[in-house]
Symmetry: C6
Subunit: 78 residues, 6 copies
Amino acid sequence: MANDDLWLKSLITDTPQEGRELAILMARKTIGAIQSDPEIKKELREEYARDSAQLIASAEVVALEFQTVAAANNYWKK
Amino acid sequence: MANDDLWLKSLITDTPQEGRELAILMARKTIGAIQSDPEIKKELREEYARDSAQLIASAEVVALEFQTVAAANNYWKK
Amino acid sequence: MANDDLWLKSLITDTPQEGRELAILMARKTIGAIQSDPEIKKELREEYARDSAQLIASAEVVALEFQTVAAANNYWKK
Amino acid sequence: MANDDLWLKSLITDTPQEGRELAILMARKTIGAIQSDPEIKKELREEYARDSAQLIASAEVVALEFQTVAAANNYWKK
Amino acid sequence: MANDDLWLKSLITDTPQEGRELAILMARKTIGAIQSDPEIKKELREEYARDSAQLIASAEVVALEFQTVAAANNYWKK
Amino acid sequence: MANDDLWLKSLITDTPQEGRELAILMARKTIGAIQSDPEIKKELREEYARDSAQLIASAEVVALEFQTVAAANNYWKK
């Protein structure tokens, strides 16, 4: 794997909100790993962003990824 | 990210019920991160709020987010 | 939030079965938070209670909520 | 709740296999809590037992319930 | 329950790969507990093994069962 | 099981990103365990890689597998 593909160096983030952003990135990177064609990805994105059922399913993936990120950060408790 | 977008400062809430509200907010913010057009979001919301299958799917997302919030708060045990 | 909306004071229950009832309540309250119109809710309820796929999806939400309630109660172990 | 409805006295079982049976019971009891009409339940059961997608969704619910039961029993480790 | 139905004696396996096999077995046994007719099961299997959406849903069930098996084995860490 | 099928020797990886790759492999291996015909698998793959709903469902499976891998690696914390 080339260096420019190294996108997940750590699960640790400074804040919960950065943890949310990481969770969204993780979900998107999985899609990109399965469907790497940028044109198809763009089409699909336009499709699912207007489909409420698919938006809810996407939110479920983010919730699952965030469970992992939050646990890794001990829920950002001091 | 602009300051007015900082919506998740902490996973800690005073009560379980506030934890539920945070879980619902987390689910909604994910939708907003994927589909940011307010008009489209409003249309989609009207659609899924009348579709029982999508309501159940939404409840699943909230349940997952709440698992994280509840663990972060040690289930609000003293 | 008005006091009569305070429905989740604690995740602690005396027994596993009361924990199940709380999990079902949690799932229902999420639906009510998204779709608050009592007429629409009633219609939707009649619909999904006769649709086996939606019943199974509802059972999944309850299973997830119960995971949280059970952990909060340390699985009701003495 | 009448005594004859008290079906979940404990999450503790003697063996993993009894834990599986409890997980299946938990899933079924949730369905029964939402749809209590025995005639409708029987019809729905015949329907979903012949629908592979619904069987898989049912298996997901059982897997989630079993996660809880297994944790409660510390995975039946001595 | 007859002895020849005793299929889950333990969640402990020697290796992660045997844990995967157990997770797949657990998913299959749940299907068999709901739909026990061998002819119908065979038909359904042929159906879902050619349906990518159902294959993905099956993989989700296996992932959930494996979470339990992996935790039971402390992730096979020495 | 023949040795050339031994694909999951350990859940431990050096980095979070290798953990992601393992999670994707785990999801794919489950599909292969259910549908082993390479021709059918290829057809199904082309199908679901162009279907946004199925891509999202695939991402959910990966998220679940990654939860297990991340926990096994103690979230790659030193």
